[in-house]
């Protein structure tokens, strides 16, 4: 490690403001390990299949953003219902919805 070039790009592009550069860093170390900082975060399990798929914090954040937005309430509830579902289950969900839609359309066309 020790590859950081102090360009500040990570801070600039970080959309959540989680990364900030501060004057609190080490300019020189005797032991390479001291250049590391480790952080452990809890993972959330998918409400459908039970697999762990994303950090709890990230999901909370997405939920908070959704609430902050001034989208119509229906959109918010619909999207909110999907928050705790992993991408794979979402995809399956979408596919089955599409199949249903197709079926319905076919029925209507008849």
């Amino acid at each position: 490690m020790g590859r950081c070039i102090y360009c500040g790009r990570c801070e600039e592009v970080c959309p959540t403001g989680a990364i900030t550069l501060s004057p609190d860093f080490e300019l020189s170390v005797m032991n390479k390990q001291d250049l590391f900082e480790q952080a452990d975060y809890k993972l959330a399990a998918c409400h459908r299949c039970g697999k762990y798929f994303a950090p709890v914090k990230e999901i909370e954040y997405a939920g908070a953003l959704l609430r902050q937005s001034d989208l119509p309430e229906v959109v918010k509830t619909n999207a909110g219902a999907l928050l705790n579902i992993c991408p794979e289950c979402k995809r399956k969900n979408d596919v089955s919805k599409m199949v249903n839609l197709y079926q319905e359309n076919k029925d209507v066309a008849r």
Partner: protein
């Protein structure tokens, strides 16, 4: 943007017409990448003649040579000779400056091409590099040695071919010693002086060998590329095309930003992105800030080598002001990292503007004093006039760049010839001298310094309003274009071709010193060895890249290794020749 392209008339059609008139059917294809950039495809066997005609008859300068493994695209290798064709100065017509790329395809079952070097000497390093990196043989090339790859690199492994190896592959070293063969100079008694070890200010390692008769240099040879890291491969593999800007910053610690702009503009040109005007001004300002610190550095070194160390320290003291300026504008002293594809990362607000204006004022008066002290030192003219002469004819043959070329009477500056950023919007003038010697090159740097200051001031005064970033452009596969910047040492040329996966397919970057090394040999010839460090420093080769110099004495047939420190001391004091001790 497409609209804009159509509006602009094409520049350089007359060169293509001249080629067609001479070579007829040998001009297989013509395609335009920008209004002043055209690629003509020719058969392999016409390559040397076409390049030579453009070079000598149409006022061409060799900008770069890029080989490209296009087998995945069309089954062939390709080689591009990039010439900046500027016409012969006859008549009173407005100059027509265009980049003409001469392209030839090379069949993979017979990877060779006729060398252009016998006709156009400037191609020598490029062709050696193509052989190293692609395993394509230049037939008729006089120099058979490796250029770029280290001595312990296995034969037959060509890093830039698409199918040879992963970019991370590290073969076992094949030899333990460096076994680079230097030129043999025949004659009565030869003493070799390897300049070594690292001198306090010297950076890039390189190995020099001077061939001397007594105190006089009769020839020189050098082995560089000790720092070859494989950047071009890196740009094609690990990085995305928009991340390469940060790599471009790290090509050179001094003129990194120039590379950065050259790279970004090559991509912007290929993708037809309109960079906002304000961003262009900011780039211009930063490029000139970079020139300020680089020229101060070289002026400092010039003082050092003529034994005027007070001046040396003083130049470095004021140089810190230029560094401070960079830090205020970009947040970083050296590697600015401020370019994005489509614009820049930071604006210049009032706070920065006031500070810079103030620092510029300080720089102007302090450097004016220092320069006049330097020129009044009796030593300086005596030590630099008529030393390290680069004859205009040699300059013409080798396409050197920057102050090295402008010191030999050519007023050639990319900022004027192929204007980019905001250089055609603010008034300024090119500095050139015709003394052909170390003195001229030093004076050019001093004058350019003040020219840069006024450029920055003018840019600040006339900064346009508007955004500094274009976002939401489209990535288009397999487009290519050139990017060019006049760095402090001369032009940096980047040729980039996009791939189809958000990456670069091929990136060829040519740093300015690259063109200045081959003619150095001619500048050293005929001088005494005490002047060698001074001459080398005068081309400002990412500064004194001399790790070791071997002096070969033609009369005593003896190679002696003289520590570089000793050479440097001799250069400064000019007494007790190190050669006498051996």
């Amino acid at each position: 943007m497409t609209l804009l392209m159509e509006e602009k008339p094409k520049v350089g059609t007359k060169y293509v017409a001249a080629l067609r008139a001479r070579f007829g059917a040998a001009i297989l294809e013509e395609s335009w990448q920008a209004p002043d950039q055209v690629t003509v495809t020719v058969p392999l066997n016409s390559l040397p003649d076409v390049v030579a005609m453009l070079y000598y008859e149409q006022g061409g300068w060799l900008a770069t040579v890029a080989a490209n493994d296009e087998r995945p695209l069309n089954g062939q290798f390709a080689i591009y000779y990039v010439l900046s064709v500027e016409g012969t100065n006859e008549g009173s017509q407005a100059p027509e400056n265009a980049y003409v790329l001469v392209r030839a395809q090379i069949p993979p079952h017979q990877p060779e091409f006729p060398s252009v070097t016998p006709k156009v000497p400037a191609a020598i390093w490029y062709e050696r590099e193509v052989r190293d990196m692609f395993g394509i043989q230049p037939i008729g090339m006089p120099d058979e040695r490796r250029l770029v790859l280290p001595d312990d690199w296995p034969d037959g492994l060509y890093p830039l071919r698409k199918d040879t190896m992963d970019y991370r592959y590290r073969p076992e070293p094949v030899v333990e010693d460096e076994n680079y063969e230097f030129i043999n100079v025949e004659g009565e008694g030869v003493v070799q002086v390897p300049l070594g070890p690292l001198h306090m200010t010297s950076d890039e390692p390189g190995h020099f060998r001077l061939y001397v008769d007594g105190e006089h240099i009769i020839d020189a040879d050098y082995r560089l590329f000790y720092v070859h890291r494989g950047m071009e491969k890196l740009a094609e593999s690990r990085l995305n095309y928009d991340q390469v800007t940060f790599l471009a910053d790290r090509i050179c610690g001094i003129c990194g930003y120039a590379h950065n702009v050259a790279y970004s503009s090559s991509i912007e040109r290929a993708l037809e992105i309109d960079v906002p005007l304000r961003a262009q001004y900011i780039r211009t300002i930063l490029l000139e800030v970079e020139r300020l610190h680089s020229h101060l550095l070289n002026l400092g070194l010039a003082c050092h080598f003529v034994g005027f160390d007070t001046g040396f320290m003083n130049f470095f003291r004021v140089r810190e002001k230029a560094m401070k300026m960079a830090e205020m504008l970009t947040g970083s002293r050296k590697t600015y990292g401020v370019n994005l594809i489509g614009g820049v990362r930071r604006d210049i607000l009032k706070e920065q503007r006031t500070l810079i204006t103030q620092v510029l004022g300080e720089l102007k008066s302090e450097v004016a004093d220092l320069v006049s002290i330097l020129l009044e030192t009796p030593n300086i003219v005596q030590r630099t006039q008529n030393i390290g002469r680069l004859e205009p004819q040699v300059a013409r043959d080798f396409s050197p760049v920057g102050p090295t070329l402008r010191g030999s009477g050519f007023a050639r500056d990319i900022r004027v010839i192929h204007p980019y950023a905001a250089y055609d919007r603010v008034p300024w003038h090119v500095v050139s001298k015709d003394g052909c010697d170390v003195l001229s090159r030093t004076l050019i740097r001093a004058e350019e310094f003040f020219e840069s200051i006024s450029l920055i001031e003018r840019c600040l005064d006339s900064m346009p309003a508007g955004p500094i970033l274009t976002e939401g452009f489209k990535y288009k596969p397999y487009k290519y274009a050139l990017g060019y910047v006049e760095a402090p040492r001369g032009e940096d040329i980047h040729w980039s071709m996009l791939g189809d996966n958000q990456k670069i397919y091929r990136w060829k970057c040519r740093a300015s010193s690259y063109n200045n090394w081959p003619p150095l040999r001619y500048m050293l010839r005929g001088n005494t060895i005490s002047d060698a460090p001074l001459i080398v420093a005068s081309i400002d080769p990412c500064y004194s890249c001399t790790e070791r110099v071997t002096v070969v004495d033609v009369r005593k047939k003896k190679a002696t290794i003289i520590p570089y420190k000793e050479m440097e001391r001799y250069c400064i004091e000019r007494k007790d020749s190190p050669l006498k001790k051996y």
